[in-house]
């Protein structure tokens, strides 16, 4: 049995950051072959709790921890040492990849377990086949999409044959077919599993023996509290649609794989796409289908091979697109480099050559609008706060169009919708990339779907 007893955790407090007592008095048990779901809004400590259960926090992340975690009476450290007691599928797959190819990543923990070669081969083939990674065996891990990396982490966890499984937002980034596979696997109850999630998904039905909600402490949830947690009202955007439209016609793009000769190059084909100013639409698709690649072409990062991208009757070049379309990258850390939130927003306004008084006024307005504290150290802010900061920076750019890449993976529904409303209030057209169908349906019923590089109207 996995036993968590009276766990409390707070991060080491740094000057100018708010006190981060994440949770207090967290206790639960997970018996053999039992499935437990722990729901929590973003920034409530789900990932931290998963790292504590894995013995990695506070070992690798400073913090004050009290309470105990035991696996069949073994302490966390002892269980971590044994390796096959528990396995973790982390939220941030990219940072947990330590080898160069897909196959090597899955083989690595088996080598540490000193399994014989035949057994390693058997487990490897099973895991890669189940998670649809066979064709990517020898591909460099840096060439995988977000969802493919998630599946790689799941495969790496599978081959250890651990008794307990900890999955942190493992359903995120997975498309519908793999979510179903994962939930069917959990229903088999071959291992005890603790799943952390920030949204209650349809595929969770009949999977879990117990559901908890993590919000300062851990509370057992019933159907009504789950419903309340998952409530998402249909959103009505009251923006005036403009006749200004971004139109894509007959676009193609090819990107060969560097690391594998035999693999077909990746191709994108978009016959027709349009986004009006003031409109909010979604872009959905399976992992590796080309959503991020299409977005990179649309914002002028990649050069298309053929086709046109038209705005105000003019066919735009790559450089011109970067001025029209703002692409909010999934990782806000790529764009944050100044000491404080105030500095970041002031930098964004520097290029407008405003008077210092006007600049200060605008920064204060942005801080209030996006609920940020100007003195906060930008790189030490929570992920959700950094995401809001990133949003504020883009808001100040006043682009005609924005692409929001998986905004809901970092923020709860309410906050995501609020930010979308803010960005679109100035008449911007929004293209929202998301895997969350409930969220996508609540936002709009208009969008596109991309499959194997080919785009279709939804």
């Amino acid at each position: 049995m996995l036993k968590v007893d009276n766990l409390s955790f707070s991060y080491t407090v740094y000057e100018s950051t708010s006190n981060r007592v994440l949770f207090d008095n967290v206790s639960f048990e997970c018996r053999e072959n039992e499935n437990i779901l722990i729901l929590g809004r973003p920034e409530k400590g789900k990932s931290t709790l998963s790292m504590i259960l894995s013995g990695l926090t506070p070992k690798y992340n400073d913090g004050n921890l009290t309470g105990s975690v035991t696996y069949d009476s073994l302490s966390c450290e002892e269980a971590l040492e044994r390796m096959n007691i528990f396995s973790l599928v982390p939220q941030n797959a990219t940072d947990f990849i330590i080898t160069s190819t897909v196959e090597e990543e899955v083989v690595f923990p088996m080598q540490s377990l000193c399994l014989d070669r035949e057994e390693m081969k058997k487990r490897l083939d099973e895991a890669l086949s189940f998670w649809g990674l066979n064709r990517y065996r020898n591909i460099s891990t840096s060439e995988l999409s977000g969802g493919e990396k998630r599946r790689l982490m799941l495969a790496t966890s599978d081959v250890v044959y651990s008794k307990y499984n900890i999955l942190d937002e493992a359903f995120d980034d997975l498309d519908v077919s793999y979510r179903k596979k994962l939930s069917d696997r959990l229903k088999e109850r071959k291992r005890a599993t603790v799943v952390f999630a920030s949204h209650y998904l349809n595929c969770f039905d009949s999977v879990f023996d117990k559901v908890y909600i993590l919000d300062g402490t851990l509370a057992l949830a019933d159907n009504s509290s789950i419903e309340e947690f998952s409530k998402i009202e249909h959103v009505v955007f009251e923006n005036k649609l403009s006749s200004d439209e971004l139109i894509v016609k007959n676009l193609t793009f090819t990107h060969p794989h560097r690391s594998v000769l035999e693999e077909e190059p990746f191709k994108i084909k978009v016959d027709n796409f349009s986004l009006k100013r003031g409109e909010v639409i979604t872009l959905r698709g399976l992992n590796g289908s080309g959503k991020s690649t299409f977005s990179s072409i649309l914002c002028g990062l990649y050069e298309k091979d053929s086709g046109e991208i038209i705005y105000r009757s003019k066919s735009l070049k790559k450089k011109e697109l970067s001025r029209i379309v703002g692409y909010m990258f999934q990782n806000p850390d790529f764009q944050i480099f100044l000491p404080t939130a105030y500095d970041e927003l002031a930098f964004a306004l520097d290029y407008l050559k405003l008077s210092s008084k006007e600049k200060e006024r605008r920064v204060t307005e942005l801080l209030k609008l996006f609920r940020l504290n100007g003195d906060d150290v930008a790189s030490l802010m929570s992920y959700g706060e950094r995401k809001r900061l990133q949003c504020a920076i883009y808001y100040s750019l006043n682009r005609p169009f924005y692409i929001l890449d998986e905004l809901d993976s970092a923020l709860d529904y309410e906050e995501s919708i609020r930010l979308i409303k803010l960005l679109s209030a100035n008449g911007a057209g929004i293209l929202l990339i998301t895997h969350d169908e409930a969220f996508a349906d609540a936002i709009t019923n208009h969008g596109y779907y991309i499959e194997n590089g080919v785009m279709y109207a939804n």
Partner: protein
């Protein structure tokens, strides 16, 4: 040396055994330091360029050469000031900018630098990092050294691509990315370097956690899944990797004689 990800290919050099390639690379890096006429350096430069063109094609070869330019320009500008022997080739008023001897030395240094960079880069571009590490283990290098190298080979290219993404992200947050973002100056790179440093530092703990989770260091006798082929092919490749540098040395000896 450009630490880049492996570039898949089916050239002869790709199929050359990685152990033989490592030995060949080391031996040729030593040979290039022997005293030899300038035309021999030019010949080596030409040969390594041909090898690169047949292995990784023109686009990658040109990219590798482009990366060497900053150091090359630095050498051209400052090395002649060190060597003042020979007759003056170029002077300004009474100051000799470059002498014949200085020019000779610069050309030798450039060709040596070019050769060593290209041959080491080709090793990494024509062999997977897995094969390189297996080869190093077969030379009985310590496991911890191989692990460090493995992480370097995994993270340096991926960090390079993260750096590019950060540079692009930073450009896209400017009001006029096509104008301000295109201006290349050191101050414009500071945001990118800062973000990249923060991203890199943040990943240190996670990487250590990942290694711990995957059982690195648990057992001294870690099981091996991958092996390198042996047999006749290995013997032939090893022989070639030694014979070519040997022929070179013998020819040099003959030229001096």
């Amino acid at each position: 040396m450009q630490i880049n990800t492996y570039i898949a290919g089916s050239s002869l050099y790709h199929r050359f055994d990685v152990r033989a390639k490592i030995i060949f690379t080391i031996l040729m890096c030593i040979v290039v330091f022997f005293d030899m006429p300038l035309y021999v350096h030019y010949a080596l430069t030409l040969l390594i360029t041909l090898l690169s063109l047949t292995t990784v094609k023109l686009k990658v070869t040109l990219h590798n050469i482009k990366l060497m330019l900053p150091v090359t320009i630095f050498m051209v500008l400052f090395m002649p000031l060190q060597e003042r022997g020979g007759s003056a080739l170029l002077s300004y008023k009474s100051f000799t900018i470059i002498t014949t001897e200085g020019l000779n030395i610069v050309l030798v240094l450039i060709s040596r630098f070019y050769f060593i960079s290209m041959i080491c880069t080709l090793l990494l571009e024509s062999s997977t990092s897995r094969d390189i590490l297996l080869a190093l283990k077969s030379f009985h290098l310590p496991d911890s050294f191989c692990m460090v190298l493995s992480l370097a080979l995994r993270f340096i290219p991926s960090f390079a691509s993260t750096f590019t993404r950060i540079k692009d992200s930073q450009r896209l947050r400017l009001p006029n990315p096509d104008e301000e973002g295109e201006k290349k100056s050191f101050t414009k790179l500071i945001p990118t370097f800062t973000s990249a440093l923060v991203v890199a530092l943040k990943s240190i703990n996670t990487t250590a956690a990942a290694l711990d989770l995957r059982g690195y260091g648990r057992s001294k006798n870690k099981a091996e899944f991958y092996t390198l082929e042996g047999g006749k092919k290995l013997f032939t490749h090893l022989a070639i990797s030694i014979i070519i540098p040997a022929i070179f040395l013998i020819t040099l000896e003959a030229l001096h004689g």
